[in-house]
C-alpha cells in the first residue's frame, strides 16, 4: 500500500477491526462561561472573539488546528484540502422581544445557515433559545471556519451568549474525506 508513513500510524485498526485515525483533524470546544450583552441590536458576535468575549475551552484538538480565541472569533484552520463536518450549537439568553435571530457557520468558501427565525416566538420560559446544526463543508488547505450569531430589533446589545461545561454553546469539527 502506498503511503507517506510506512509505519501506518494514520489508520490504526484494532483486533476487532475497529478503525481509528489518531492524527485526523478533529476538535471539540465550548464556551465555558457566559458572554453577556453581545448582540440584540444587530451586532454580529463571533464565538471566541477575545476583543469582546472569552476564548473557548477545548475538549480535544487532535492535530492542533483549532484556535480557541482571537480577535474576530475562534477559528478552525484546515490543514489539508478536503470535506469537513462542522457541528455548532449556541444558547442565547434574554432574547426578550427580538424577532430576528440569525446564526451561521462561515468558512472561507461559503456560509451555512443554522437558523433565521423569530426568536421571540420560540423562546422557552427562561427566555432562552438553543439552536444547533451540522454541515458538510468543502475547505481548501489554510481555509478557516468560524461561527457567529446576531439578533436584531432590541434597543441595545442585551442578549447573552450562554456558556458552561454542559455545552450550552459549542463548536466541533473533523476532516471526513
Amino acid at each position: 500500500m502506498a503511503t507517506n508513513n510506512a509505519a501506518n500510524t494514520y489508520i490504526t485498526p484494532d483486533a476487532n477491526n475497529i478503525v481509528l485515525q489518531p492524527s485526523q483533524p478533529a476538535f471539540s470546544a465550548y464556551l465555558g462561561s457566559d458572554d453577556d450583552n453581545q448582540t440584540g441590536a444587530g451586532t454580529v458576535f463571533r464565538i471566541g472573539d477575545t476583543d469582546v468575549g472569552t476564548a473557548l475551552t477545548e475538549i480535544f484538538d487532535q492535530n492542533a488546528d483549532f484556535t480557541t480565541g482571537a480577535s474576530g472569533g475562534a477559528y478552525f484552520t484546515a490543514p489539508v484540502t478536503g470535506r469537513y463536518v462542522f457541528i455548532a450549537g449556541i444558547t442565547v439568553d434574554s432574547v426578550s422581544t427580538s424577532n430576528y435571530e440569525f446564526n451561521k457557520v462561515e468558512t472561507s468558501n461559503r456560509r451555512y445557515i443554522i437558523c433565521s427565525w423569530d426568536g421571540s416566538a420560540v423562546v422557552n420560559a427562561a427566555d432562552e433559545i438553543f439552536t444547533g446544526a451540522h454541515f458538510i463543508c468543502d475547505m481548501d488547505a489554510a481555509d478557516t471556519a468560524k461561527f457567529f450569531t446576531v439578533l436584531y430589533n432590541l434597543g441595545g446589545d442585551t442578549v447573552d451568549v450562554q456558556g458552561s461545561a454542559t455545552l450550552e454553546t459549542y463548536f466541533m469539527g473533523y476532516l471526513l474525506v
Binding site: 494514520y10 489508520i11 483533524p25 490543514p79 468558501n109 451555512y112 437558523c115 454541515f135 436584531y152 474525506v177
Partner: protein, 171 residues
Amino acid sequence: MATNNSANTYIVPTANNEVTQPSQPAFLAVLNGAWANATGDGTALSPMTIDLEIFDQNADFDTGTYQFTAPVTGVYEITNSVGISNAAGHTVWLLAVITSNRQYYSIYTDDVNNFLNTSNNTTYENGVFADMDAADTAHIYCRVNGGAKTVGISRGDLTDCTTHFSGVLVC
C-alpha cells in the same frame, strides 16, 4: 492491509498523517437561485429542486432528478437546510429527507408562523445517519399547507448555502 486497489488512490495520507479519501462519495448542492410560489397550498416538492453542485466527489448526485444515489451499501451522513419565504398565514410546514429505506423528519409543525422572522422567512437544518443499500436514493421533501401557493424557497448559490443538500459515505 487488505485492498482492492494496490495503487492506493482511495486513502491518501499526508506527510502529517491527515487522511483524505478523494474517491469517497460526498456531495454538496444548492438550489440555484430563489424559487417563488413553490408551495403553500399543500404542493409537495418531492424531490425538491436542488440543481447546482458545489462538489460531487464520485458523481453520485444528479442535478436533473435532484437525488443522491448510493453507489455502495453503507451508512451515510445526510444533511439539509431549507429556507422558506412569504409563509405568513400558512399552517403546516413539513421538511424531511426521504431515502429508499426511510423518512427522516427535519421539522413538522402545525404553525409555521411561529418560526418566521420579520422578513417573513425562516430556515431549518437537520442531519441524519442513514442506512442505504447500493442504488438507494435520497432526496429532500418540503411542503407547506394552509394557504395559497405563494410560499417560496430561499435562494442558494456558490457562497450562500441557505437551501442545500449534502451527504457523505461514513462507513
